[in-house]
């Protein structure tokens, strides 16, 4: 009965999303205040019904109600409670429900925080969000209903995919979706500005914090997914350029471009139409990701059960939303001129390069992701596009991107006077070269060309991000929170670059057969295999190996890699054991039992892999910090006057 109530609540939420869309958009168009306030109330109502619907399904998981088909297919009574709740988003239907709920949370946050926005602008934003919500609710109810009953009820459930029974994987979808869905808020702000036909650029300031927030979530979500793949899939890889990974990476790349172009539009009133187009593009890439993952047009290791009927629905939705937004763009953008110009060497032009290079990087990923499908469609045969394409192609735009960051960070708005910063640029570069070469040849001894290049670029970013703020602090000039956030985020980029450089060039990996008591040495670490023992878990059994790692005479890691067999689905999973330290990971995974106490083992030494996720987390932290900047706390209407006068603090002071 409860689940039927939940189902009904979702139908009511659908009706309210239609109400929100209609009254928001027409209310603003007809300038009827009552209508516009209906949209705001509809957001709250819709949120309550979404919460109710989701709660009934969570309840069904918690009490093991196997008369609900979705629960029977994706949970099991032996599954620990935490994973029974997380099983809600373990497959297509429930994750779509999560998508919608996250949108509900974002919408109510916009309705609540946006009280200071002009009423008709807010109504349009909520109206667009209502359209998005309506589309997804309709999709859920017509093609992917998680509230469906199963008669007769199952005795027990088919269990959650064992690889998803993991902490990082349980929290990865909500955070990733917060990012994906947050981009629809950014989209709604841009659409509202276009619908209204605004010629100013105030919307950019209103849109900025929401976009940055969504971008920070997306960064964390992708990093969590990568971390999960690293320690659960057991082969030590952290990024495989899989279509599903790319589907989340493309909105991130375009989103990174967007948060930068928004700064220019907000502060200088430039790039208006480009920023609008980028906002539409980021959301399109999020939707496209949903389409690619759920329609079966691409094959991936971790896609959802594919269903072309769902594909048709998402594609139609994509055509309506994105086609509509782009038509709106074609209509409105021509009237958006720029009132001011900028010189060749200025902060504006560096952000322009940043945007161009990020757009190229997005195109590289986009092309590689869609190429197999296009080749197959044209009858060119089955094509597999993997790291051999992505790794080198991706470096072409990203190397100049990070190099220009270290130079452009010193540039000022409007006018070019890089010669003044010449000292800082060359100084930081010289220090970076010395430190990087010392680390590369002194510690790691790599012979690859990319290693010193990556190390120099990474260190250079960190130094050049720090130099301007530090010089200001020395002159006792307080730093605005926005500048601190930017600095932190850019340091994150540097750490990320360093992580990738060293993990890609200095990893050592060996597959080797070891009998009990035997050992093997890689990279100065001696891995000794001490045999295996049986183990039992709540819903699995298996064997656990023991590997002791010593360096010199000191034990540095005690590793227990295991191999589990989950009862219900009979799946065998390999869990690698990782001895982590800030600057390196030691990893051991069990392969096959070769008999007579001998096993095949995979041993790895991965330097600085932690820097990859740490870098991503620091970038996200930097983004979040900028949200606390004073400029977002001032009332938006009052901010009009200060738009041109609020200069960049760095410029004002030096």
């Amino acid at each position: 009965m409860l689940v039927e109530i939940g189902h009904f609540a979702m139908i009511l939420a659908l009706a309210l999303s239609a109400t929100q869309a209609f009254f928001g958009l027409t209310g603003a168009a007809l300038k009827r205040e009552r209508w516009m306030s209906v949209a705001t109330s509809a957001v709250t109502g819709q949120f309550l019904f979404l919460a109710l619907g989701t709660a009934t399904l969570v309840h069904a998981f918690v009490v093991n109600d196997f008369s609900v088909k979705y629960v029977a297919n994706h949970s099991n009574s032996a599954l620990p409670l935490f994973y029974r709740v997380a099983a809600l988003w373990g497959a297509h239907e429930g994750s779509l429900l999560l998508w919608i709920c996250v949108l509900g949370v974002w919408s109510i946050a916009v309705a609540w925080r946006g009280a200071k926005l002009p009423a008709d602008y807010l109504a349009r934003v909520l109206g667009v969000l209502g359209v998005v919500s309506f589309g997804f609710l309709l999709f859920l109810l017509t093609t992917s209903n998680p509230f469906e009953r199963l008669l007769p009820a199952a005795i027990d459930g088919a269990d959650l995919n064992p690889q998803l029974q993991d902490f990082a994987m349980a929290i990865h979808p909500p955070i990733l979706y917060a990012g994906y869905v947050g981009m629809s808020v950014s989209f709604a702000f841009a659409c509202a500005a276009m619908l209204e036909g605004r010629r100013d650029h105030l919307w950019a300031r209103w849109q900025r914090p929401w976009t940055v927030m969504a971008w920070a979530f997306l960064s964390c979500g992708i990093a969590l997914g990568s971390w999960w793949a690293y320690y659960v899939l057991g082969w030590g890889g952290w990024w495989a350029w899989d279509p599903v990974e790319n589907a989340s990476f493309m909105p991130w790349l375009a989103g990174t471009a967007l948060i930068h172009s928004l700064i220019v539009t907000d502060k200088r009133g430039l790039f208006k139409s480009w920023t609008l187009l980028l906002s539409v593009a980021v959301f399109s890439l999020s939707l496209l990701g949903t389409f690619l993952v759920r329609s079966g047009v691409l094959n991936s290791v971790h896609s959802f059960a594919a269903d072309p009927a769902r594909g048709i629905f998402i594609l139609s939705f994509l055509v309506l939303m994105i086609g509509g937004a782009l038509a709106l763009y074609a209509w409105r953008a021509p009237s958006l001129g720029s009132d001011v110009g900028f010189e060749m060497v200025s902060r504006e032009s560096f952000i322009l390069f940043n945007n161009i290079l990020l757009a190229v990087a997005t195109a590289v990923v986009f092309g590689g992701t869609l190429a197999p499908m296009i080749a197959d469609t044209l009858g060119l045969g089955t094509l597999s596009v993997g790291p051999p394409y992505f790794n080198p192609s991706f470096l072409i735009p990203t190397i100049p991107l990070v190099a220009l960051l270290s130079v452009g960070i010193h540039a000022r708005w409007r006018r070019g006077q890089l010669s003044l910063s010449k000292q800082r640029i060359l100084g930081t570069l010289a220090v970076a070269v010395v430190v990087a070469l010392g680390v590369v040849y002194g510690i790691y001894g790599s012979t690859r060309l990319m290693t010193p290049i990556g190390a120099v670029l990474g260190i250079w970013i960190i130094l050049s991000s720090l130099v301007d703020p530090l010089l200001q602090l020395r002159r006792r000039i307080a730093l605005p929170v926005g500048v601190i956030g930017m600095t932190v985020a850019h340091i994150g980029v540097g750490i990320f670059v360093l992580g990738i450089t060293f993990v890609e060039s200095s990893t050592i990996e060996r597959d080797i057969a070891l009998a009990r008591g035997q050992s093997h040495t890689i990279g100065g670490y001696e891995f000794r295999f001490l045999g295996v023992e049986n183990m039992e878990g709540p819903n699995f059994d298996g064997v656990r190996g023991h590997v002791i790692v010593t360096q010199g005479n000191k034990v540095v890691a005690d590793l227990f890699p295991d191999k589990r067999r989950y009862f219900v689905q009979g799946t065998v999973t390999t869990k690698a054991a990782i001895g982590a330290q800030w600057n390196r990971d030691l990893l051991a995974a069990l392969g096959e039992d070769l008999g007579s106490n001998s096993w095949s083992l995979r041993l790895q030494y991965r330097p600085m892999i932690r820097f990859v996720w740490l870098g991503a987390a620091i970038m996200a932290l930097g983004g979040v910090l900028t949200l606390f900047d004073r400029r977002y706390r001032t009332a938006p209407v009052a901010a009009t006057a200060s738009v041109q006068t609020t200069g960049e603090p760095v410029q004002a002071s030096s």
């Binding site: 029977a72 297919n73 199963l150 007769p152 199952a154 005795i155 027990d156 088919a158 139409s273 187009l277 539409v280 593009a281 399109s284 389409f291 329609s295 079966g296 047009v297 094959n299 594919a306 072309p308 594909g311 048709i312 594609l315 994509l318 055509v319 994105i322 086609g323 782009l326 038509a327 763009y329 074609a330 953008a333 021509p334 869609l370 499908m373 296009i374 197959d376 469609t377 009862f567 219900v568 689905q569 009979g570 799946t571 065998v572």
Partner: protein, 181 residues
Amino acid sequence: MKRFLLPLGAFALLVVVLLVGLRHAPEREAKFVKSPLIGKPAPQFTLPQLVDPAQTFDSGSLRGGWHLVNIWATWCVTCREEHEVLLQIKQEGRVPIVGLDWKDEDAAAISWLSQLGNPYQVVLADRKGEVAIDFGVYLAPESFLIDPQGVVVEKQYGAMTVEDWRSKFLPHLTAPAKAGA
């Protein structure tokens, strides 16, 4: 003015590509899910029979005639849906069905068969699920069509349906057997 229409045009092109890709998706899916066992000899095994554990069944017995090996269990919900179809296949009498009862309790399996009817020529008890692993099963039910040479020629992932039986499986049985397919 025209340059602002460019994104819309590019998007239209993308939609066409996606639409064509979507039309091809089912074929691609079929290619993808096909078991690597197809065209290869069925795994070797020896298992006790469900009704009389003292008697064993050897994979060698699969040779000499067509067999449909069906992996099922009483805890498997979809197997219950599939059961009706298996009974129909038995009635048609084109091919004997060998049931592989996967990680199940014997008593539950026997009472299931007496209640719902027994479509199988013989039921084998794979209590630890080891044979199912050799078959590459990861979710019941699954079915494998094995030719008289003991080679797997077709696989059903999930429940057998009447349509799939007619379109995918029956043609193998009516066509003259190709050696080493």
